[in-house]
């Protein structure tokens, strides 16, 4: 009897700890949401906007220099994720052909890049030499080959029963047909997990733009947001009821909102992705 009481006390304290933790995570985000709707610059923490208005958002969307980066973010995320998934699945499929002459060479060639690389400047010089800098190609193609994700995909493919490949070959399927008709349909979970990881990487990309793109015509929304928050690139607030602070906060919300809406439904795929890597490696 005594022990039961002790356990429930622990449960209550533990529950309280997590409620506090959840608040610590959410307060910074809530502050941004409130400020994005508040036409006055809010002082301290408000539970609700003091003078509610959508002018911050209207300002962002009416501004042509803000819409373009948003569209670029969408285009590069979609194109990049598709190309990255194509490379990861093709590479992973070849790496499970243990009998293929040269298979180990290809595997080692990819793994070596995880240990050693040319570094920031030689990479920049190669991309500049190929005239890829200041084009969207560099931010779409350069991150597309991710050896870590390719290895995750390979681990997943290894779980497909060998007999399926054999019977497909007996039925006269070419490697490409086997890949499209057997491997890909059986890997929906892995495609979702790894595809989402790529999509988040592309959507959040800042480093590659900062390094390889100097022409603001090709900035994505992260670059634009950075410029705005640093104060060097604020849209004019004259003629609008929104203050600079409101517009900054509205821009932050706009860049995270697509993900926030999808996130509760996608969470299990992200967790699964980590566990593909954790179970075997």
């Amino acid at each position: 009897m005594k022990r039961k009481k002790k356990i429930s006390a622990f449960q209550i304290i533990n529950g309280l700890i997590f409620i506090i933790l959840a608040f610590i995570i959410l307060i910074p985000m809530w502050k941004v949401i409130v400020d994005s709707f508040d036409l006055h610059t809010a002082y301290g923490m408000k539970l609700w906007p003091e003078s509610f208005g959508l002018d911050g958002y209207a300002n962002v969307f009416s501004n042509p220099t803000l819409l373009r980066p948003l569209i670029i973010s969408f285009i590069t995320t979609i194109a990049g994720t598709l190309i990255a998934l194509t490379l990861s699945t093709l590479g992973a499929y070849v790496l499970i052909q243990w009998d293929m002459p040269g298979r180990n060479f290809f595997a080692n060639m990819l793994l070596f890049t995880m240990i050693f690389n040319g570094g920031m400047i030689p990479t920049y010089l190669v991309l500049r030499g190929l005239h890829l800098t200041n084009t969207l190609w560099v931010v779409i193609l350069f991150p597309a080959l991710n050896v870590y994700n390719l290895v995750l995909m390979r681990n997943f493919f290894e779980g497909i029963p060998q007999s399926l490949f054999e019977s497909a070959t007996l039925d006269g399927c070419s490697p490409m047909q086997t890949f499209i008709r057997i491997v890909l349909p059986m890997s929906k979970a892995a495609l979702a997990s790894i595809g989402l990881m790529f999509a988040v990487t592309y959507w959040n990309d800042y480093t590659h733009y900062k390094l390889y793109i100097t022409d603001s015509k090709w900035y994505n929304f992260q670059m634009k947001l950075r410029g705005m928050v640093m104060g060097s690139d604020l849209p004019p607030t004259s003629g609008s009821n929104a203050t600079e602070n409101t517009v900054k906060n509205a821009a932050i919300i706009i860049v995270i909102i697509p993900f926030m809406i999808l996130y509760p439904f996608l969470q299990k795929y992200f967790v699964k992705g980590v566990n593909i890597g954790a179970v075997k490696e």
Partner: protein
């Protein structure tokens, strides 16, 4: 005999011809984006500004690098910031995981997990934007306003957390803990879910209480996972760039500049003609230290993880 073996290989290569074709795109990407840049390492031994032909200068760049105060400061900053950040987030993630594992109400647990994973998916730019607004010394900064309201600070002496050398690193660590602790629990929670419940039942029969079970069953089971996480991340400590870059500014470079940001500023923001030879040399040094770390961690990993390396 030899002829026959050769024929066999040729036959096999022919049999796998479709696969070679499928590997071709991956091969081309690897050559262009990873191997071609490796050829550029030769610039480390030259004087090169990107326009004129490079002139060979031997180890001049390395001698200059080792004599630079800023280089050494960036080097030690990289190591200190990465390792302290790694240890702090891992420690927090372990504690949170063990406590989270004790929550009986599944719905509550699920909601908590959803919330604490969230910051991981926000970009560093968004994170830096949020925290630069919150930590701002102006009256709209949440933390300063709070400190003034509870009387810790005077309204005229607010702290510019991200712009003061004394406060930058603590702020950086706290932001990292806020962003990454939750997501790091995923891997620990997976290990905890795999613990055989018989162990707990047996311990309960032996009269073990909650703390004893955590101390003698849960924690030892997590030990291997903790070591794995630390080893895997230790191999990456030299790569620190984006998180430091978006949070730093000129006022705090003495405590915040890391090797990658040092290379960036020297190459693109130095205000004079860039010396790509010198920055390539710094990058090469960084890559070599990183490479040694990976190999050491790999060796260590094989010992801890029953023969499994990290690469």
């Amino acid at each position: 005999m030899k002829e026959k073996k050769k024929n066999n290989t040729m036959a096999k290569i022919y049999k796998y011809r479709g696969f070679y074709l499928m590997f071709l795109p991956v091969f081309v990407f690897a050559i262009i984006f990873f191997y071609a840049p490796m050829l550029g390492i030769r610039y480390a031994f030259t004087d090169y500004n990107g326009i004129k032909e490079p002139t060979f200068t031997g180890i001049q760049n390395f001698l200059r690098m080792f004599s630079m105060h800023n280089f050494w400061s960036a080097f030690w900053n990289t190591i200190q910031i990465s390792i302290i950040k790694l240890l702090l987030t891992t420690a927090f993630a372990v504690i949170v995981s063990i406590l989270l594992n004790e929550i009986a109400n599944l719905l509550f647990k699920k909601v908590v997990q959803t919330i604490i994973y969230l910051p991981h998916f926000m970009s560093w730019v968004v994170t830096a934007s949020i925290f630069s607004l919150i930590l701002s010394p102006s009256s709209s900064g949440l933390v300063n306003t709070f400190l003034v309201n509870i009387g810790v600070l005077d309204a005229n002496s607010t702290i510019y957390f991200l712009g003061t050398s004394k406060w930058w690193r603590p702020a950086y660590y706290i932001i990292n803990i806020w962003k990454e602790t939750g997501w790091q629990t995923v891997i620990f929670m997976a290990t905890l879910a795999g613990i055989n419940t018989d162990l707990y039942e047996a311990a309960a029969i032996d009269g073990a209480g909650r703390w004893a079970k955590m101390r003698y069953i849960t924690f030892p089971q997590l030990r291997n996972t903790i070591l794995t996480v630390i080893i895997l991340n230790l191999a990456k400590v030299m790569n620190l760039f984006e998180s430091a870059f978006v949070l730093q500014n000129n006022a705090v470079l003495d405590v915040a500049n890391v090797l990658e940001t040092y290379i960036y500023y020297q190459s693109f923001n130095s205000g004079s003609i860039p010396n790509y030879g010198y920055t390539t040399a710094v990058g090469l040094f960084k890559s070599l230290v990183g490479c040694v770390l990976v190999l050491v961690c790999n060796h260590w990993s094989k010992k801890v993880r029953e023969g499994r390396g990290i690469v």
